[in-house]
Subunit: 169 residues, 2 copies
């Protein structure tokens, strides 16, 4: 799939078949995250790969919009490292770029995925810290649910001319 | 170019030829940004397209790492809208995903681009607000410099096994 086509056809997929995502694909998705740009190339990220159904259940208990984990085969928790980031607040930017790379890789591999928001909701962050035993310098940024897609979605119209400004606001 | 290949081969390109980037490509890059996911699909972004050499000079005066604008043909200022975002702090996440989509589109089109950090540096944000006359609810997130590449870079090794954690930290 071409890059531009992939960017335009990626959708948030929340229903998955029971088919397993091969380990090799999981490594490709992680690699895609690691090739995101980051401020001063600090790569202030970590990735937790989750396949435990018990952990999925724990997350669904504390996160109001994580119901898609019911059918997900794998999930990724993208975390920022405040000891590695270029300066305060950069981990949010860098981890968001990494998350987007991973979602595009998932789509490019023929899988389906969705960005489940963690940061900037403090309550969700604290719950994730407890579930995964995160050290103080590790900030949970985003969760990605992933599996073989069991739904397809139409192409939306998201191009908005009024969002474009020329030379000045 | 395939998505996965594009993700892995994208590099920060800071030297450009004097060749013009066609308007059609600029629209593709903007469209890529608009197709990023955003919390609750709020699409809390705006894009300023900059081609004025005078504006490039103003930015280079206030930004210590914007020297590549010297040879850039076009630049994009990605901005967040605090009136549109899902909740406080979401615009940073959403605009970072949009910026990454745009960088991948630039690469996919055979152009070169680089992410010039604005947020979270308050001084740079204030200077951009003044240069572009941004309203109070509009937050400058990132600048992208772009042009026909006049440099190529080797493929780095960024895959780090130690960044991957299984099931728990």
């Amino acid at each position: 799939m071409e890059i531009l086509e992939g960017i335009l056809t990626r959708r948030s997929i929340r229903r998955y078949t029971c088919e397993r995502v091969p380990d090799e694909m999981i490594m490709h998705i992680l690699e895609a995250g690691m090739y995101a740009p980051s401020a001063v190339n600090r790569q202030p990220w970590h990735f937790i790969v989750i396949r435990s159904k018990e952990t999925f259940r724990q997350i669904m208990k504390i996160h109001p919009y994580a119901g898609m984990l019911e059918s997900a085969d794998v999930a990724f928790l993208v975390c920022g490292d405040t000891k590695l980031e270029h300066g305060p607040g950069y981990w949010v930017v860098d981890c968001s770029a990494a998350t987007q790379n991973m979602l595009l890789a998932i789509h490019g591999l023929g899988l389906g995925g969705v960005w489940v928001g963690i940061h900037p909701r403090e309550q969700r962050k604290e719950a994730m810290r407890q579930i995964f035993g995160l050290p103080e310098n590790i900030q949970p940024a985003a969760l990605i649910a992933c599996g073989r897609p069991a739904e397809s979605k139409p192409h939306p119209q998201r191009f908005r001319k009024e969002k474009i400004h020329w030379e000045i606001w």
